[in-house]
Amino acid sequence: MTAATAHQTAGPYWHMIDFPEWADLLRAGSGNEGVQGEKVILTGRITDGDGAPVSDGLAEIWQAGPDGKYEDVFHGFGRCATNADGEFRFVTLKPGPVPGRGNAMQAPHIQIAIFARGLMQHLVTRAYFEGDPLNTADPVLTMVEDPARRATLIANPAGDGVWRLDIRLQGDGETVFLDV
């Protein structure tokens, strides 16, 4: 058996693989035109251990469609470069609940992968939706005992379909990152 290839940082100059339109999962040509669901905008700011914006980062999302299925009718991949304020912004549809292991059901969530200079491997976290009744039984959220830490995985409504999840790489309010 050969061990998996080592990750290496994306570095600061990955913008050649940035296609800004990929941040809009509902764009013309996405294949998602006409899929029915609740339109949401997922936005947030990525900061480092000093609270400084990560302005050279790349966020990718991976999610199920409103039907709770991956790549059935909805193509659930997006990519967004952070701006000078460290912010990302995705336009998408709210995913449905997805089966967990055993008989568990996972609350609607969007998987987020973060790549940047200084990250030897990408970081993985999730955005859940504040107030979703399935959150209380979600198998990942219930693994996080400290309510303050759990809150780092839950996006908050910010009006007009906008959901906000700030991501802190290090220090006070550090986001819960997943070992997947």
């Binding site: 058996m1 050969t2 061990a3 998996a4 290839t5 080592a6 990750h7 290496q8 940082t9 994306a10 600061p12 100059y13 990955w14 913008h15 050649m16 693989i17 040509g29 996405s30 294949g31 251990g49 000093d50 400084a52 990560v54 050279d56 991976w62 199920a64 991956y70 790549e71 193509h75 659930g76 991949f77 997805v98 089966p99 292991r101 055993g102 996972q106 969530h109 998987q111 940047a116 200079r117 200084g118 990250l119 030897m120 491997q121 990408h122 970081l123 198998p139 693994m143 996080v144 830490r149 790489l169 290090q170 220090g171 550090e174 986001t175 819960v176 990152f177 997943l178 070992d179 997947v180």
Partner: protein, 234 residues
Amino acid sequence: MSDPVTYRRHQPGTQPPLDSPAYGSTHKRHPKQSLLRVPHTLTETSAPRFDPARYKAHADMSQVNGKGALGERIIVAGRITDEDGRPQRGVMVEVWQANASGRYHHPRDQHDAPLDPNFEGRARIFTDDDGRYSFVSVKPGAYPWRNHWNAWRPIHIHFGLHGAGFAQRMITQMYFPGDPLLELDPIFHATPDKAARERLISKFDLEITKPEWALGYRFDMVLRGREATPFENA
């Protein structure tokens, strides 16, 4: 519904730690809390399907509109398998790199080396049924960075891979054999396991080399394998 087959965890020492002190940019960017190990679900075992009709392949970085880029033309080819040696078909491979002078086609790259109007430095390809890929480019140049005094990155090409599960997602760098800068590079050296580190170095390959045209380098990559299911040997 039965549980999805999970991906194997990485073998100790074969991956670079997030806290890699010799690489200065990790200081303020690595989480200090331990990562939360979660069992794999469909979220981790499924992955985006990149339809080549929507994500167009582009395998030749060595020219723009028929005009050749400056530098030594190269062909990079290899095979992507999983840890059990199974070919990984349909993997979307994204590639980006500096030009022959060591300058990226990127507004933030301020290195005082010339840009090349005939070199953009990006490609996108898909592996075939046998897990094979190849593309044409020019050999990149080394470039300085400010990590430590007189720091230069060894010449490298960045690769991004999209496998069959989002847990296989990975970005890595391919290096070139015989580069004296490798010994001095904290990013290359962050991976503790020597064998794992050295697998990041491509090999010159006369089979890939095309007479009178381009030098060939072979770079194979390995994605995480599936955990054996309890019934596999029954």
